[in-house]
Amino acid sequence: MSGAASISLVRFIIIYLLLLIVIAIMKKSKINQTKLLFVASIRMTLQLVIAGFILTYIFKHPHPVFTVLYLASMITFAIHRVLSRNKELNTNFKIVIGFSLAFSGLGIVAYFVMAVVNQSIFNPQYTIPLSGMIVGNAMTGVNLGVKTFLESISAEKPRIEALINFGAKPKDILLPFVNQSLETALLPTLNNMVGMGIVSLPGMMTGQILSGTMPTTAILYQISIMIAICTVVCLSVFGSLYLGYRTLYNERNQFL
C-alpha cells in the first residue's frame, strides 16, 4: 500500500461545486441559511489551510516547544468554549472545569501516546492529531454535562429548596443531579461505540486507510481512541461536576 493519492488543486476546487446542490435545496425549501453556509465553508477552508501550514511547519521542524504550544492552545480553546457557553457559572466552578478539562485531557493524551503508541509525547505527528480528538470530545462532553446539570438544578429549584428547608445536606441534594448529568454526557459516546464499524468506518480509521495503513493496524488505533475518548469524557465531566457542585453552597450549607 502507498500513501493517499494527492489531489491536484484544480480537481480539489471541483468539490466546492457540490455546495451548489446544497444552495439549490436550501432555496427551494426556503431555508434562510445560505449566508451561514458561505461563512461556514469559508471559515472551515481558512482554518484548515492555516492548520495545514502550521502542521507542515511543525512536522518539518519538530521541536518540543511547538507540540507544547499546540497542546496548550488547544486546551485553552476547549476551556474557553465550555465557559463561554455556560456564562452563569461562578468563578470557582469555572476554575474547577478548567482544571478538570486540562488534567484529564493531558493525562489521557500522555497515556495514549506514551504507553499505547510508545512514542514521545513531544512527537507532533502523534500527539497533535490524537490530542485534537481527545480534547475535542472532552470539550463536547463537559459542555453537555455542565449544561444538563445547570438546566436540571434550575428546573428542580422547588425540590432543592424544599429539601434544604427540611434539613437535608446540600451534598445529598445535589449528587443525584451530578450523577444524572454525567450519564447524559456519557451516553452519546457509548452509543457511538455500539454502532461503530457497522454503519460507517469512523473518521480516524478512514483517514489511516486512505493514507495506506493496513486496516488491521487502523482498527487498533480506532479501538484505542474510542476507549480513550470514553475515559476522557467520563473523567473530565466527573471532575467538573463532582468538584464543581461544592462551589454552589458555603460552609454554612447555604446556597449562593
Binding site: P158, A162, N165, F166, A168, D172, I173, R252
Partner: protein
C-alpha cells in the same frame, strides 16, 4: 425561656427587623406587606440565608454557632414552593426521610398526620395529579412528620378555601399544643390571623 430571640437584625441593610422574643409553644403570626421581608425572616431563622448583621438566638444560643443541618432539623421551614416527588403519598414520606437520614414514620403515623392536614386520601394514592391545595397540605404533613421544635409556615393556606383553611389551622394549633411545638406563620389571611394568633408581629414598617 424564649425559644427564639431576634436582636437588631437586618438583611443586607435593606430590611430592618424589630427585636422580638418568642416563647416556647407560642403560635406566632407574621404580618406585613408583600416584600416587607416576612419570608426572608423565616429563611434567616432556619439559616438557609446568611445572617450578616444582628443576632438570632435559639434556646439562648446564637444560631451562627449551631451546625446548620442540626438547626434545620429542629426548625423546619415549609416554604411557599411546595415540592412532591412523583409517586404516592407514602413514597414522598419515604424519600424525604431518606434525605433527612431519619426513620420513615409508620403508616399509622402518616395517616394521622394526613388527617391533621385535612387530607382524606389513602397513603398509597399517587400525588401527581393533586391540586395545589392538596399538594400544599401533603407537604405540611411531611414537615410535621419530622417532629420539629419550631415549625415555620409560609402562606400555608394560600391555595385553600376558607373552610378548609380554618380546619387546617385549627388542627395545626391542636397538634402544636400536644407536641409542645412553636409555630411561626406568615399569612395574608386576616380572619385566620385574628382567630389563631397568640402573638402577631407586624414587620411591615421595618423596610427602609
Amino acid at each position: 425561656m424564649h425559644i427564639l430571640s431576634i436582636k437588631s437584625l437586618n438583611f443586607k441593610n435593606k430590611i430592618f427587623y424589630k427585636d422580638v422574643n418568642i416563647e416556647k409553644g407560642q403560635i406566632v403570626f407574621l404580618r406585613g406587606a408583600s416584600g416587607s421581608g416576612k419570608s426572608t425572616l423565616l429563611r434567616l431563622i432556619n439559616a438557609t440565608l446568611p445572617l450578616e448583621e444582628g443576632t438570632i438566638l435559639y434556646n439562648n444560643k446564637d444560631i451562627r454557632e449551631i451546625d446548620t443541618i442540626t438547626l434545620r432539623r429542629e426548625i423546619i421551614l415549609a416554604g411557599q414552593s411546595v415540592y412532591l416527588f412523583p409517586g404516592t403519598i407514602k413514597d414522598n414520606f419515604k424519600r424525604y426521610h431518606e434525605y433527612r437520614e431519619s426513620q420513615v414514620p409508620s403508616d399509622e403515623v402518616i395517616r394521622s398526620l394526613l388527617d391533621t392536614s385535612c387530607i382524606d386520601f389513602d397513603i398509597d394514592t399517587v400525588c401527581n395529579n393533586f391540586s395545589g391545595g392538596e399538594r400544599q397540605r401533603v407537604f405540611i404533613s411531611i414537615a410535621l412528620s419530622f417532629k420539629p421544635r419550631v415549625l415555620l409556615l409560609d402562606e400555608p393556606t394560600s391555595a385553600l378555601d376558607n373552610a378548609t383553611a380554618d380546619r387546617l389551622m385549627s388542627n395545626l394549633v391542636t397538634h402544636c399544643k400536644q407536641n409542645y411545638m412553636t409555630m411561626i406563620i406568615v399569612s395574608h389571611d386576616q380572619t385566620i390571623t385574628e382567630k389563631y394568633a397568640e402573638v402577631t408581629i407586624d414587620i411591615g414598617e421595618g423596610v427602609k
